[in-house]
């Protein structure tokens, strides 16, 4: 099987591409920078470029689409161009090339606003109510992708959307290393009392879940096509426990001071970098979305995901922390 992985230079995209290579698939990648995935064939370029995309999908059986503009702030037009139009371009090309399977990697934020989420399932994506340009455009692109699902007796493109929630792991420059960086310079506040339960996804589990979704699309009949699944470790923890665990794993002192959730929501603060995923110099101010993410509960009902994908997270939160500690030289709690 030949699989195209877009966005394979990112943490998760790279993990997915590596997992597919490891089990013997032919892997092609599409992103602007080199993927660095050994054994994969890189196609350099943007998903917004039709010609590049057409070349990338040529001859592939399946697409795992991770490439996206991931940021907390920025030009709305740019979000739309990459996340919505890029996905449309990729879908168009995939259909023309006779691709059979398409995994749209999405985000739980496409369906959920800032209120607390307590054990909920995957609701339909809602571009009108999603918060922020990223979530709004990811919602639109998920709807677009699922709308192209043509599974039937006669074949046609099968689409599934997978929404990993807060992916982290060793080498993660986005969450983990920013937490460590901020904490070591004493600039990492906890929002509120830090007790809100947050479910996260250890990197390897997220990659496995995406590969499982790809495999389930091949089932005859497939239970998953046309549907969206949230993927997590299924181990919600108070947000403060998670940040403390990351700090301990890195050998830095965890934060001790607090900003009230209400204050942070109004004034913004320093935590924006924690969730700011794309490194660069355009560091956005803390958004309300972020403050809510860190001060209200976000955890999910994983029963359907487990049953339909026939997948369970293999790496527990504690094991993930141990691996983090091994990587950064700290101690796992």
């Amino acid at each position: 099987m030949t699989v195209l992985v877009t966005g394979a230079s990112g943490l998760l995209g790279s993990a997915v591409a590596r997992a597919l290579v490891a089990r013997g698939e032919t892997v092609r990648t599409l992103q602007r920078r080199p993927s660095g995935v050994p054994g994969a064939e890189d196609v350099a370029g943007s998903v917004t470029d039709r010609a590049t995309v057409a070349a990338a999908v040529d001859g592939v059986d399946a697409v795992v689409h991770l490439a996206a503009k991931v940021s907390l702030a920025g030009d709305p037009a740019e979000f739309t161009a990459v996340n919505v139009e890029g996905t449309r371009t990729l879908l168009d090309a995939a259909e023309r090339a006779g691709v059979q399977r398409f995994v749209q990697v999405s985000s739980p934020s496409v369906a959920h606003t800032g209120t607390s989420l307590v054990g909920v399932g995957a609701r339909p994506a809602d571009p009108d109510r999603a918060r922020g340009e990223y979530a709004r455009t990811k919602a639109a692109s998920e709807l677009l992708a699922l709308g192209r699902d043509r599974a039937g007796a006669g074949g046609g493109l099968r689409v599934v959307a997978v929404r990993p929630h807060i992916v982290w792991g060793p080498g993660d420059t986005q969450l983990v290393e920013r937490v460590i960086d901020r904490a070591s310079s004493g600039r990492l506040p906890l929002l509120g009392h830090g007790a809100a339960l947050i479910d996260t996804t250890y990197l390897d589990n997220a990659a496995d879940g995406i590969v499982a979704a790809l495999d389930r699309l091949a089932d005859q009949p497939s239970a998953v096509h046309g549907r969206a699944y949230v993927i997590t470790n299924g181990e919600p923890r108070p947000v403060a426990d998670l940040l403390t665990g990351i700090c301990r794993a890195a050998g830095v002192e965890p934060p001790r001071w607090r900003v009230s959730a209400g204050l942070a929501r109004v004034a913004g603060g320093a935590v924006e970098a924690v969730w700011r995923v794309r490194p660069g110099d355009d560091e956005p101010p803390m958004t309300r979305f972020l403050a809510e993410q860190l001060s209200t509960a976000h955890w999910f009902d994983q029963r359907e995901t487990w049953a339909d994908l026939r997948w369970r997270p293999a790496v527990s939160l504690d094991e993930g922390m141990r691996r983090l500690a091994a990587h950064y030289g700290g101690t796992a709690r």
Partner: protein, 882 residues
Amino acid sequence: MTPHPASTVPPGLPGLARFSHVRGDWHYLDNGAELSAHGIRPVGTVLAVHGNPTWSYLWRDLLETVTDRAIEAAAAVGEYPDGVQGAWRVVAVDQLEMGLSARTGRRRTLADRVADLSALTAELDLEGPVVTLGHDWGGVVSLGWAVDHPDRLAGVVLLNTAVHQPDDAAIPAPLRLALARGVHRWGTRTTRAFLETTLGLARPRLARDVADAYRLPYRAADDRAGIEQFVADIPASPEHVSRPELDRIADGVRRLDVPALLLWGARDPVFSDRYLDDLVHRLPRASVHRFEDAGHLIAEDVDYAPVVLRWLGSAVSGDDASASGSTAAGVPAFRPMWAGLDERAADPASRTEPAVLDLTTTGAGRRVSWRALDRQVRRIAAGLHEIGVRRGDRVSLLVRPGPTLTALVYACLRIGAVVVVADAGLGVRGLTRAQRGAWPQYLVGETTGLAAARTMGWPGVRIAVDPLDPVRRRVLGVEHELIDVARTGEGVDLPPEPGPDDDAAVLFTSGSTGPAKGVLYTHRRLSALRDALATHFAVGPETGLVTGFAPFALLGPALGTRSVTPDMDVSAPRTLTARAVADAVKAADARMVFLSPAAILHVVDTADRLTAVDREALGRVQTFLSTGAPISAGLLEAARSLMPAAEAHTPYGMTECLLVTDITLDGIREVADAPDAGVCVGRPVGAGRVLVSALDDDGAATGTPSDAPGVLGEVLVSAPHLKERYDRRWLTDVAAERDTPTGHWHRTGDVGHLDAAGRLWIEGRLAHVLTTPAGPLAPVGPEQAVERADGVRRAAVVGVGPTGVQQAVAVVEPVPGAGSARPGRAPERLDAAVRAVSSVPLAAVLLAPEMPTDVRHNSKIDRARLADWAAGILAGGRVTLP
């Protein structure tokens, strides 16, 4: 007024038109045609009669439910057999001059109405056996039909009604007002006052469209003539024209030999509990459910239709084979509760020996011989009978444990009066609910109890235990003093003994796991409790009991052995000292000691004051029981060290079955290293049996009851000494006996498992089970693990999140002085300590400076409240105290 004919239901009342018919002057709802159109032959007919000022609209839910279910059932079978299960024809009439029936201008008495109804049913060709259903004054009319058609009658169902108005009691105030000269016509006909007042009784308020539907046939003053006449026809005085018919019906009801169902809204200003009690006496076989929060319009307040259908299925059609069971085969021979007392009192060798000793401060060392106790019991029994107490009458005993209470209990049992015992621990509100629910005819009390009864308006003819001066007597409404009652009974023959299956006692649950419920025991079941205790613990005439736990103090005479209450305030177990126990053992030469865990704690704490003589006396104790609540092995061990020769037992039970299983201290030690979660409570006592109904993923006990080891589920018990039923809580009975094996079983609401050796392990309450993605999780096992962590004094494991995906959260109360006690997320070190020993994955560890507990025991952690608290914090809400 202008007469007008009957009419069918106008458009705009959804669902009713399909049932609406007119025949002569009558309008009625009838599903017969619809059933027949579907080829369904009903098993019988329900004849429903509304009251004043409602109409057949009252019964719409029953018509719809029964019809739709029957059609569904028939469709599911695919053919149309005769008597589809639960297919009843329902005929709900509008009484003449009422509802959509004709306004003829004729005044109708009760006798007329009963005759009118019979005439209609003769024309309607009712199918099969008939069950009458009536509400309010429709209840009386329906019973009139029932009394007149014994050959057709298969059952009666009544909702808030009355058939008897005692001459010496005032009719309810709202009716007095409605009947008052000058008010009557104005209130019932000229204006809508009576109608609107009645509709306003619904709890909660009626929806606007429902209220409008009730108003529909009564919009014009002329339409309301029937309401006026109906009120006028209330036989408020003995001379009233309808009084003979009412009395005829009331007497006839006593002779009805059919199943009956009474559904009662307790908050009815007109048909109060007094009338329920009257009906219960007339229909002793009735299934009764008293809805504490429902009112007069009970058919609107509660979802009564499925209840009626369920009852029809089990009591009338006999679908439910396991409905009976109390007279199952293998019931042991019956020996009445007073037999032991009789025998010891009759035996010249023992008659002067002490039967009851009271070392409490109030008892001041009273010592009552077998002969004296027997004489006192007989005098009080005969005296109670002389003042009118009859078999089946209820006597509430608001008397502290001691010889007087003992004599009263045995006196009541002997004449078949039902003792009602509600612990003062329920508090005044709980006691008020209990007294109203049980509705005793007599109330025997000490002055404090009588004062509470007066203030709170508890029912019952007052009998004072203490002598009172005339002023207090009057103030407290006391009609008799116990000393006079006993004197009246002197030398008077006793009435015949009650039968083994007559009601004997109503005991109240503690109220720590929901509102206190009355639990009814028959004589057979009480005697079986005595026998189970005697056999299991080898209690003989020479055993001698020290009873620091009230319920067992009462069993001494039945067991035929002396019992002594130690020096303590019996309502405050923490007042019992080790010396007091030793003194009691010496006074009665007792071999057996009953204590509650709270008392044991204080006994152990005061052990240093024991003298050598005390210790020697305690050394003669052979059996020691901790009863009433769970106890730790450590505390039991400490208590046993004071009674080194004794075997320490801690039985497991509940108000519904006081002895389910038993385990000894040695037994507890034996299982100390077992891998099982929970508290081992040992094996069933005597002929008792225990099964487990497995929990499903939603935490519901849906598994077929089984004795398979290692299965987590709801604990079911069966024993000769199990309760007969809950008191006036038929639906609670149905729930407690749901899907149980043949025989008499009870779902305890506790969860746990059996081990391979047949021992029962309790793991918590069904209501506290967590439903995690990995399946149901009972809290006690995980809590025991967490409590082993350093710095943890007490722990509760609760679930947060929706059913089926709950996350386990440990809430811990820290050891005092062991660091921060701020509520919220536990400090890092405590968190790590708890996680290190936890037997289950924990989403979070929260700190509660002090656990919320129930007021009564100060020991049962309020897990429901903690779960809400934890859910709020873990959703990002404010951190408060639990």
